[in-house]
């Protein structure tokens, strides 16, 4: 009998802080103009700002934001997305105080409301023999 716990690994490295008791989105900020980007970039994405690597710093966003809009996805999207076992789920865009709006799955699908407060967490998409693959998710806190 296999009782060994599987490793919990992020689906894509460096998009959210993991492992962590308090997962946060990893973004980048331009020291010159303040533009925040997610996923983090090597160069500032502000079209009128200079393209110099040294201007960019990696930051962790606040762990709370506001739900800007959302939907509940009722059918299974095609690959490359995997969510197993599939069940309907919420998706939403969240506004962070750092001035950026980010997409993510929502940990529940009922009682969602535009403007509600959510916090960043991590949740399982699928697993194989060795690993559970995690992505960032929004957990309503209102």
């Amino acid at each position: 009998m296999n009782t060994k716990e599987k490793n919990k690994v992020p689906l894509i490295e460096d998009m959210f802080k993991w492992p962590s008791d308090e997962p946060r989105i990893i973004a980048s900020r331009c020291k010159k103009c303040g533009t925040v980007s997610f996923p983090k970039l090597t160069f500032c994405q502000n079209p009128s700002c200079e393209k110099k690597r040294e201007n960019i710093e990696v930051i962790e966003l606040s762990n709370k934001g506001k739900l800007y809009s959302y939907t509940v996805q009722r059918y299974k999207p095609p690959e490359p997305f995997r969510y197993e076992p599939y069940k309907p789920y919420g998706i939403g865009m969240v506004d962070f105080p750092e001035g950026i709006r980010i997409w993510g799955m929502i940990t529940r699908m009922d009682n969602l409301k535009i403007g509600m407060n959510v916090k960043t967490t991590a949740g399982k998409l699928y697993e194989d023999e060795e690993n559970e693959y995690l992505t960032w998710m929004w957990e309503p806190v209102d």
């Binding site: 689906l11 996923p39 939907t71 009722r74 095609p78 690959e79 998706i91 709006r101 535009i114």
Partner: protein
Amino acid sequence: MPDKDVAVIGVGQSAFVRGYPGGIRELCFEAYREAMQDAGIPSKEIKALIVCCAPEYDKQRSPSSLIDEYLGLTPAPAFMVESLCSSSTTGFAIAYSFIKSGLYDVVCVLGFQKMSEITSQDVQERMGRGADVMWESPYGTSMPAYYAMYAQAHFANFGTKPDDLALVRVKASTYGQLNEKAVYRKKVTFEQVMESGLVSSPLKVMDCCANADGSSCVILASADRAKEFSKKPVWVMGVGQSNAPMNLASREHMRGLECARIAGEKAYAMAGVGPHDIDVAEVHDCFTIAEILAYEALGFAKPGEGPQLIRDKETYLEGKIPVNVDGGLLSKGHPIGATGGSQLRTIVMQLRGEAGAIQAPNAEIGLVHNIGGVGIYGNVIILGR
């Protein structure tokens, strides 16, 4: 009176179907033949061919060369343009400027899509990839989900309800049943829409248009050539185009599509007309909510008041601004690259008074609103007779 520099002299469209049995050459020929018969000109008059499609749905590489040869148009130059679901109105804008500049005097804009070349799973995946795949794959989204977010935002801002969306589908089916070229010709009741299953809340199965295979063709000509060939030229009055950020999260708001609003403003300014001058319109109703957003973007209704227009049936044939009286994408189906050309064909027939059972009374000025992706590309074309 419109500027009489560039005219549409021929329009054609294949039937929009599920699983067209031939290849893309045969599919394109169907629309081309109809448009050329309509224009009454021989193929040697075509000086350039603009092929419009979203190429990732096809196995064929560089389809414009294949089609140029098959239609017997070589040595006329051919090339392909792509702006997702608005490809053929983008092609139309290029054809307009070719003729206006004097480079060519007769240009063929041929839009097509054969989505059944690949599995429907693949179609969905490619549609999803009309958005930025690099970082949207970790949370699983879809075309309906993107438009659903616009719907939720409209609901929250303006009190719009699922019932309003259903009314749009009922209207589409009212006219779709009359359109011999539509993929979906059944009349749909309000109850049927409301009882159809949720896809991405609040959008239900019947709030979504269907994929289809199809082609469309529009022939444009200079004023001199138009007068030579055509008894009923339809003149290009306004062309407006705009893009919004591909990533929805980078847009300032989700109350409507900015690319459509700006494209509309540009087209109105060029044509020297306003929303009240439009007698009949074709808008990009890939989802029911998209038609309501279009009413507002084009100024047929104030922001937030789009739902009232459909509640009052003002966009029916008898209303103040008939919209999508050919059934729209919701009934006709949506063969990506062919959709804009099909919309243009409907408006041209309306302005010629050749629309039959769906003829809008005294239509002098018509408008086409064609959107690529989820509000990425906006094209608005105004035509007049």
